[in-house]
């Protein structure tokens, strides 16, 4: 069924829904460069010229610049840690024989079903004893624990698709496990590795519960945590608040836009058994 112009009714329906869906995101990005006074006076006008002062204020006055650095640091450490642990684990799991494989898979998957809330109080106590409260690598470590399971599952899916012939041939040539991993598995599965890295980075960037409990000093706040202080310190300056939201939104959004095909592929591969 097509209309005279060749556009299907389904396309029109999807387009309308897509605009509704993305509206809150666009609205935030536009409000970030709207002078605070106009938020109430002309909420639907386009902000021309854009009030870039909001962004500068959020960056400097509310110290979001520092928080972004902290977030970047935590996200990088989390990605590095998760990949270093998950790549060898995923590869080995796909190489093991059935009984051991299933049991170990279940073990690695266990964290997916255990809620953060159960671990956060004991982790807070353990971290206090270790002197890791307010430590950004400490937060990254918790993020690694909570992301290593899905990283392993997704990577195992990519490793499993490497043809057995290739592995057999390499083994005949005398390649051991480590050489297989380095020269065959990781290069062939690199789209998966990149996608998993991106997903873990977004997850770590967005983390709130872990940071809320483990980071107490404003100097080490990550971006989501810094955002919550906006509401108490700058309650009257909504333009500034939207600038902060937009700055926090953007990095995951850019990562997603750049890698969306791979990210979607990795996510859907993980749900198809």
């Amino acid at each position: 069924m097509t209309t005279r112009t060749g556009i299907r009714p389904a396309t029109i329906a999807v387009a309308v829904l897509a605009v509704i869906w993305i509206y809150p995101v666009i609205w935030t990005l536009v409000n970030a460069v709207r002078p605070t006074a106009d938020l109430y006076r002309g909420p639907l006008d386009l902000p021309i010229p854009p009030a870039l002062g909001n962004l500068a204020d959020a960056w400097n006055r509310a110290n979001l610049g520092g928080a972004l650095l902290n977030s970047t640091y935590v996200a990088s450490l989390t990605v590095a840690g998760a990949l270093v642990v998950a790549i060898p684990a995923a590869f080995t799991l796909t190489r093991l024989r059935p009984p051991a494989r299933a049991a170990l898979f279940l073990l690695v998957l266990a964290p997916l079903i255990i809620p953060t809330e159960v671990l956060i109080v004991p982790l807070f106590a353990i971290y206090r004893n270790l002197g890791l409260i307010n430590s950004l690598p400490g937060v990254a470590l918790v993020n690694v624990v909570f992301s290593v399971s899905f990283a392993t599952v997704i990577l195992a899916g990519f490793f499993r698709r490497i043809p057995q012939d290739l592995i057999d041939a390499a083994q005949l040539d005398g390649a051991g496990r480590l050489a297989l991993l380095r020269f065959i598995a990781v290069p062939l599965a690199h789209p998966g590795v990149v996608a998993v890295g991106a997903i873990v980075a977004v997850f770590a960037w967005n983390d709130f519960s872990g940071a809320l409990v483990l980071l107490q000093r404003p100097g080490v706040f990550t971006a989501p945590l810094a955002l919550t202080t906006f509401s108490t310190f700058y309650a009257t300056d909504e333009g500034l608040r939207f600038a902060g939201l937009a700055i926090t939104f953007l990095p995951p959004l850019v990562v997603f836009l750049l890698l969306q095909r791979r990210i979607v592929l990795a996510l859907t591969a993980a749900t198809a058994r």
Partner: protein, 298 residues
Amino acid sequence: MRLAAGRRERALDFALLLPVLALLAAFLLYPLLYGLDLSLSRTEGLEVTGSVGLAHYARALFGDAVFRQGLVNTVLLTAAAVVLQTGIGLGLAVLVSETRRGQAVFRIAFVAPFVLAPVAAGTVWKFLFAPFFGIVPSVGGALGLDLSTFAPLSDASLALWAVVVVCAWRFAGFSMVVYLAGMQSIPHELHEAAELEGIGPFARLRRITWPLLWPQTFALTLLTTIGTLRVFDLIWIMTGGGPGHATETAATYVYTTAFRSVDVGYAQAMAMILMVLIVALAFVEYRLLTPRVEAAAA
């Protein structure tokens, strides 16, 4: 020679798995046991000052109306999230698969909310749900209706459903891409044959697409259940569990009890109950849905 090599390989397998196992033992198993101990103890701040046996569990289950309401809210929220996220996701997937052009753009629009920080998304929706200049009053105003005092987040009977809307907005796109991937593996011939026999699009959706997508529905139901039962950040930012305790969930109540009331042992007992609930519900869903998944695969 071969035997020695085999043994070396096995040792290497173990060595490659060791980091993940050590990590999980140190930062998952140990905190879990530590937490179990806390939940059975009288606590002073973070220090254990004695044992109380199962008293904390009894208090949570039988003597705490707020925790009970938190559990009810958590289960309601989860049930609504499972139905809405899979339902809307499937609807969007069907619509998007019908379009010829712009599928990539639509996919970006629907999945984008999924990658945003929950804290930031929650703050934005707090604005959108605000009275006077929020989205409902603005749209109402444009239609000539006075809805300027519509403020779902401060209305105890609406707040939980406002949270449900935001959850659905964030995750429906994820369900959509999972369903879209599943639909690609359904052979075109099935739909073409049904179309030739005069079976309409809705009947085809119900009798071909839906049954064959059970593996996806299964995965999404489990993931949504596990994810929503523990939801914290979105609610914490939007309502803090209020108004009253209208949007209190098990997770928000655990947090306030542990870090505001500093009743650590009791908070940990409630967290353990939440974990048991998650494991139990996931197990029930697994048992209920597995036969359908296997039927779809056959």
